[in-house]
C-alpha cells in the first residue's frame, strides 16, 4: 500500500490523497497512486482552471463537438466539418527544443485523426526570449527545426502561426501547435469505450520508458533540476506516425469501430480511463499484453509511459482480426489488451492477476477542483504613462525602418520557409499574409486559419488583452475574406497558485469570452499550460487564440498586398492617440507600460462586417489589419508584399508618432479601384463605419505625410526596396549571427 508520504512525492496534496482513500474505501497501492498522480496533475485534470473555463461560450449552430473531446468540430456545410485543436509543449521544448517541439506536433496531429479527420494544416504559435542571446537562438532554431521535421515528414502543411520575442519568455519559451482537419460529418468518431464485451486494442508503436511523468513535469515550475528529469522528454518518430495516420483513417472507414483515443500525456492510464468515463463504462486490461520496446517494464511503467505514436482503439467484439490486418498492412502493431466492462472500473491485470482497480470516472474527472485566490497585480496600478513627456523623434523614417526590423514585426519567412506549406496543394494563401487560406478540393469552399495573441497587452491589461486576442484573430480571417467560425485556445500562464497570476488568467478568459460571444465564435477546444515560470520570472499571460473561418467561395479570398498602381487606399475604422503597449513605446522609446489600446467590440464587429461585405461584393483588391507597429507599418507591409509604393497624407489632430505607430484597434487598410470608391463609401455608411481615404498605390516610395490644420507635422518617405530589406532579413541576421 502507498501512504500519504508517497502521495506527496508524486505531487498529490493531502486533501487529494484523502479524496482517493475515500473514493476507493481503502488505501491505494503504488500503481493506483501513480495513476491518480498523473491524472490529477494540472496538465490532465485542469483542476486549477475548470471553473474559469466554464465562462467561455462553447455552443453555436455550427458546433458539432465542443470542449471535452480530443478536438472540437464545426460544420462547414456540404456534409463537411473542420476539426481543430491547439496544444502546448512548453516544458519539454525548454529542455530539448528539437524533440520537445517535434513531439508536440506529433501529439496535436493525433488529436485530430483520432476523431477520424484527415489533418490538413498545422500552425505554430511561438514565444522566445531576446534573440540576441545564444541560448535563445539555440532554443528558437531547435524548436523551428523540430516542428519542421515532424510536420514536413507527415505531409501536413504548416501554414501559419506567430513568433514573438520578449525577455519574459527567456527561460520559459512557449511552443503551441495547432492542427486542423477535415472530416465528413457522418464519420465523426469519439473517444468512447462503449459496449460491454467490446475489445480494447492498442495500436502503433511499442511501449518504452519514455516520458515517465511527463504530465506532472508539465505541471510544475521549471527549475535547476528539471534537466535531471530527462526521461520526460521523448523522441518523436514522424514516420511511424504517418503510418499510424493512414492506418487509422483506413480503420475508421468501418462501422464496427466504437471509439478511438490517442495516447498522450499520462499514456495508457489516461486513454483507458477517459474512454471509459465518457461512455460510463469500465475497462479491464492486462499490461502483460502490451507490446514493449524495453525489457523488464513493470505495470507502473507500462501504465504511465508516454511513448509516442500509439492509439487505443475500441472495436466491436469479433473484429480484432480485421483491425490487425489493417495495421499489418502499414507494418504496425495492433494487439487486444482488454475488454469493455459494465462496472465503471479501470481494472489493470498483469498476467491475469489484478494489480490495480479504481473507478475510471474518479481518475478521469474526479480531481477536486481548486478555487484559487485572485488578486490584481500591483504593477497594474502603475502602468499609465504621461505621453506629453515623450518627445516626438525627429527622424520618423528611421523609426519606421527600426520598427520594421524589430523581430516582432519583421518577416517570419526564416521560420515558415523551413516548413513545407505547399504539400497537399491546397494552400491558396501561403504564410506571410494575415491568415492562411486553404481550398477544399471537391467543393467551392475554403477555410482561413490564424493564431493570435499579444501577450504584452495581456500583461498590461489582461481583460483588454484577452478581448484583443480574439478580435485580432477574427480580423485576420475577415481581411482574408473568411467568416470567423470558432476558436481553439491555448492558455499559457505562470504559476496559478500565485494570486496575481490567477487574476491574469481569470481576466484574460473573461475578455476572451466576451469577445468570443460578441463575435459569434465559440470556443470548441483548447488547452491550459500553467507554471510557465522560473524563479519569480513569469511569462506574460499568453492566451493564444487559434481561429478558423469559412469562405463559401474560395475564389473570393483576399490578400494584404497592394496590387495595382492607381488604386485608392482607404482606412476602415478610426485612428486613435493610443500609444500604450505599442512596439514603438517599448522598443524605440524604451518605455514599458501604458494602457494597451481599448477595444470597442461594437465598432470592431461593424468594421469586420463591412470588410467582409466589401470583399464578398468584389469591391476591393487588398485588405490588411493594423496591429503591431501601427498604421505606417501596416501600410508598409502592404507595399512590401506587393512590391509597389504608396503615396498619401492624413489630416489629423493626433500627434504624429501616435498616428503613425500607435496600435489603436479595429482598423483595416484596403486598396480598391477608384471606380469602386463611391459604392464602398455607401456601404460603409450603411454599416455605420468610418472610412478615410489615405492616398494611392504608386510605384517607387512609401510616402505618408501627417498634417495638422494643413501644416506638415511629420512624414515618412522611403523607397520600398529599402523597407523590404529591413523587414525581410532582420530575423535571419539576428539568429544566424
Amino acid at each position: 500500500m502507498a501512504g500519504r508520504e508517497d502521495a506527496k512525492k508524486l505531487g498529490l496534496a493531502d486533501y487529494e490523497y484523502d479524496e482517493i482513500v475515500k473514493t476507493l474505501g481503502r488505501e491505494p497501492n503504488h500503481l493506483e497512486l501513480g495513476m491518480y498522480s498523473v491524472m490529477w496533475s494540472e496538465h490532465c485534470s485542469y483542476k486549477n482552471s475548470k471553473p474559469v473555463l466554464k465562462r467561455f461560450p462553447t455552443s453555436g449552430p455550427r458546433v458539432l463537438q465542443g470542449p471535452g473531446e480530443n478536438a472540437g468540430i464545426v460544420d462547414i456545410g456540404d456534409n463537411l466539418a473542420v476539426v481543430m485543436k491547439i496544444e502546448s509543449h512548453n516544458h519539454p521544448s525548454a529542455v530539448e527544443p528539437y524533440q520537445g517541439a517535434a513531439t508536440g506536433v506529433g501529439g496535436i496531429i493525433r488529436d485530430i485523426f483520432t476523431m477520424g479527420a484527415r489533418p490538413v494544416a498545422l500552425l505554430d504559435s511561438l514565444r522566445f526570449g531576446n534573440p540576441d542571446e545564444p541560448r535563445v537562438k539555440y532554443l528558437f532554431g531547435g524548436v523551428v527545426s523540430g516542428i519542421a521535421d515532424y510536420g514536413n515528414c507527415m505531409g501536413i502543411p504548416t501554414v501559419g502561426g506567430e513568433v514573438y520575442f520578449d525577455d519574459s519568455y527567456r527561460d520559459n519559451p512557449l511552443v503551441n501547435a495547432m492542427c486542423v482537419g477535415i472530416i465528413r460529418c457522418d464519420r465523426i468518431v469519439r473517444g468512447k469505450a462503449a459496449g460491454v464485451g467490446n475489445s480494447v486494442m492498442l495500436v502503433g508503436s511499442a511501449t518504452g520508458r519514455d516520458g515517465m511523468h511527463g504530465a506532472s513535469f508539465a505541471s510544475e515550475e521549471l527549475s535547476e533540476d528539471s534537466v535531471a528529469k530527462r526521461p520526460s522528454v521523448q523522441v518523436g518518430d514522424p514516420f511511424t506516425e504517418k503510418l499510424l495516420l493512414e492506418a487509422c483513417l483506413e480503420l475508421l472507414q468501418n462501422d464496427w469501430v466504437v471509439g478511438v483515443q490517442d495516447l498522450g500525456a499520462a499514456g495508457l492510464t489516461s486513454a483507458s480511463c477517459e474512454t471509459a468515463a465518457r461512455a460510463e463504462s469500465g475497462i479491464e486490461l492486462d499490461v502483460s499484453l502490451v507490446p514493449r520496446r524495453e525489457e523488464n517494464m513493470n505495470p507502473y511503467e507500462v501504465m504511465i509511459s508516454e511513448s509516442q505514436e500509439r492509439m487505443l482503439v475500441i472495436v466491436e467484439k469479433g473484429h480484432e482480426e480485421d483491425v490487425r490486418k489493417i495495421f499489418e498492412k502499414w507494418d504496425l502493431n495492433a494487439v487486444k489488451i482488454g475488454t469493455v466492462t459494465a462496472d465503471g472500473m479501470l481494472r489493470i491485470l498483469e498476467n491475469g492477476t489484478v494489480v490495480a482497480e479504481v473507478p475510471a470516472k474518479s481518475l478521469a474527472d474526479g480531481a477536486p477542483s481548486i478555487k484559487r485566490e485572485s488578486r490584481k497585480p500591483f504593477y497594474m496600478e502603475d502602468i499609465d504613462i504621461d505621453l506629453s513627456s515623450i518627445e516626438i523623434p525627429e527622424d520618423l523614417n528611421n523609426v519606421l525602418l527600426k520598427l520594421l526590423s524589430s523581430p516582432n514585426i519583421a518577416s517570419k519567412a526564416w521560420v515558415y520557409q523551413q516548413y513545407d506549406y505547399t504539400v497537399r496543394t491546397d494552400t491558396v494563401v501561403p504564410p506571410g499574409s494575415d491568415a492562411a487560406v486553404l481550398r477544399i478540393k471537391g467543393t467551392k469552399k475554403g477555410i482561413a486559419l490564424t493564431t493570435d495573441c499579444n501577450g504584452y497587452y495581456c500583461f498590461l491589461d489582461p481583460y483588454e488583452g484577452g478581448k484583443q486576442a480574439v478580435a485580432e484573430a477574427a480580423r485576420n480571417l475577415v481581411v482574408s475574406g473568411a467568416k470567423p467560425l470558432a476558436i481553439t485556445d491555448c492558455l499559457n500562464f505562470g504559476n496559478p497558485e500565485k494570486p496575481e497570476v490567477y487574476y491574469q488568467f481569470e481576466k484574460c478568459v473573461d475578455g476572451m469570452a466576451e469577445a468570443a460571444s460578441f463575435l459569434g465564435t465559440p470556443v470548441i477546444s483548447g488547452n491550459v499550460s500553467f507554471y510557465n515560470e522560473t524563479k519569480d520570472n513569469a511569462i506574460y499571460p499568453t492566451p493564444v487564440v487559434g481561429m478558423v473561418g469559412l469562405l463559401e467561395d474560395v475564389e473570393k479570398r483576399c490578400t494584404m498586398e497592394f496590387k495595382k498602381e492607381g488604386d485608392v487606399v482607404v482606412l476602415l475604422g478610426d485612428n486613435t492617440d493610443e500609444l500604450g503597449g505599442s512596439v514603438y513605446l517599448k522598443e524605440i522609446i524604451g518605455l514599458r507600460g501604458g494602457r494597451p489600446p481599448r477595444l470597442n467590440l461594437d465598432v470592431e464587429k461593424k468594421v469586420q462586417d463591412c470588410c467582409l461585405k466589401a470583399i464578398e461584393l468584389g469591391l476591393i483588391r487588398s485588405a490588411h489589419d493594423v496591429t503591431e507597429g501601427g498604421l505606417s507599418v501596416a501600410l508598409a507591409e502592404s507595399c512590401i508584399a506587393g512590391n509597389i509604393g504608396f503615396s498619401g497624407e492624413i489630416e489629423t489632430e493626433i500627434r504624429p508618432d501616435a498616428l503613425l505607430f500607435g496600435e489603436g484597434q479595429s482598423r483595416i487598410i484596403m486598396s480598391l479601384p477608384e471606380e469602386n470608391l463611391s459604392l464602398f463609401q455607401q456601404l460603409a455608411k450603411e454599416l455605420d463605419v468610418n472610412i478615410t481615404v489615405l492616398g494611392f498605390v504608386k510605384s517607387g516610395n512609401f510616402k505618408l505625410e501627417v498634417k495638422m490644420k494643413g501644416q506638415n507635422v511629420g512624414k515618412v518617405d522611403i523607397p520600398v526596396d529599402k523597407l523590404a530589406l529591413s523587414w525581410g532579413n532582420a530575423i535571419k541576421w539576428k539568429v544566424e549571427n
Binding site: F239, A413, T427
Partner: protein, 237 residues
C-alpha cells in the same frame, strides 16, 4: 495515358500527383502500394512521388528502393516506360542507381520551402517538350536533402550528353551561387538517364499545375508527357 503513382510508406505527395494526373489532366491514374508488383506494360507513366519514404531515416530514398514495387519499376524502366521521380522520388531513383549521383543535406542544413527559378536546359525529353530550351520557369521546392552530388567525370558526362534538364537560376536566368537553394553541384535541379525515359527532379511540378495555386509552370511538364505518350500511341508503333 495510364499512370501509376507509387505509394511508399512515408510518401506524402502521392495524392498531389494523383490529383494532377486524374483531375487536372483527366488521365486514368492508379496508386500502387509499395508491397505490390505490376507488369512492365501496365502503365505508360510511373511517378515516384515526394515525401519521406521510411522517414528518410538512413538516407533519403535508401530503404524505399528495396520495395517490391521498385522491382517492377526497374522492369518498366528497362522496357522504356516513362518514369519521373519528384523530390523524394528523385532520391529513390539515385539510390536505385537508375540515375547517377547522390543526394546530401542542403548546405545550410535547413529545409527549404519556397519558389525557385529554373532554366530548362533540355527541351527534347518526353518530359519537357512543351518548354523551350533556355526558358526560365518558376516551381516550388520543399526539401531538406536536395544537395545533388556526383563526381567530376559524371558531371562532365551528364553535360556532354545534354542530360541536365533543369538548373537553378535567378529570375533573369543567371546561374549563380545565390540562386542555388541547396548547394547542388553546378546548380543541378533535375537530370535524365541515358535512354531518356527516367527523369529525376527536386522541384515539385505537381504543386504548380493549377491557376488557383498561382502558378501553372509545372502543368506543362505533365502535358509534355501526355503529348509524348499520345503521339506515340496515335502515330507510333
Amino acid at each position: 495515358m495510364k499512370c501509376a503513382v507509387i505509394m511508399f510508406p512515408g510518401s506524402n505527395c502521392d495524392i498531389d500527383c494523383y490529383h494532377v494526373l486524374s483531375e487536372v489532366l483527366g488521365q486514368p491514374a492508379e496508386y500502387v502500394f509499395h508491397k505490390e508488383k505490376f507488369g512492365p506494360g501496365d502503365f505508360d507513366l510511373i511517378v515516384l512521388p515526394g515525401g519521406f519514404s521510411y522517414g528518410d531515416y538512413l538516407r533519403a530514398g535508401a530503404i524505399a528502393r528495396f520495395s517490391p514495387a521498385m522491382d517492377s519499376v526497374l522492369k518498366a524502366a528497362e522496357a522504356g516506360k516513362l518514369i519521373i521521380g519528384i523530390c523524394n522520388g528523385f532520391q529513390i531513383l539515385l539510390e536505385a542507381k537508375l540515375l547517377p549521383g547522390a543526394m546530401k543535406r542542403n548546405r545550410d542544413l535547413k529545409f527549404h520551402c519556397h519558389d525557385v527559378y529554373l532554366r530548362v536546359d533540355n527541351d527534347e525529353t518526353p518530359f519537357t517538350r512543351l518548354y523551350k530550351k533556355g526558358e526560365i520557369i518558376r516551381l516550388p521546392i520543399a526539401h531538406g536533402e536536395g544537395n545533388y552530388y556526383a563526381d567530376v567525370q559524371t558531371i562532365e558526362k551528364l553535360k556532354a550528353e545534354n542530360r541536365v534538364v533543369f538548373t537553378y537560376c535567378d529570375r533573369d536566368g543567371n546561374v549563380s551561387d545565390a540562386a542555388n537553394p541547396n548547394g547542388s553541384v553546378e546548380n543541378i535541379a533535375g537530370i535524365i538517364n541515358e535512354q531518356g525515359n527516367i527523369l529525376g527532379m527536386m522541384p515539385h511540378p505537381e504543386r504548380s499545375s493549377e491557376e488557383i495555386l498561382g502558378n501553372t509552370d509545372g502543368k506543362r511538364l505533365f502535358e509534355s508527357i501526355l503529348r509524348h505518350i499520345e503521339g506515340r500511341t496515335t502515330y507510333g508503333r
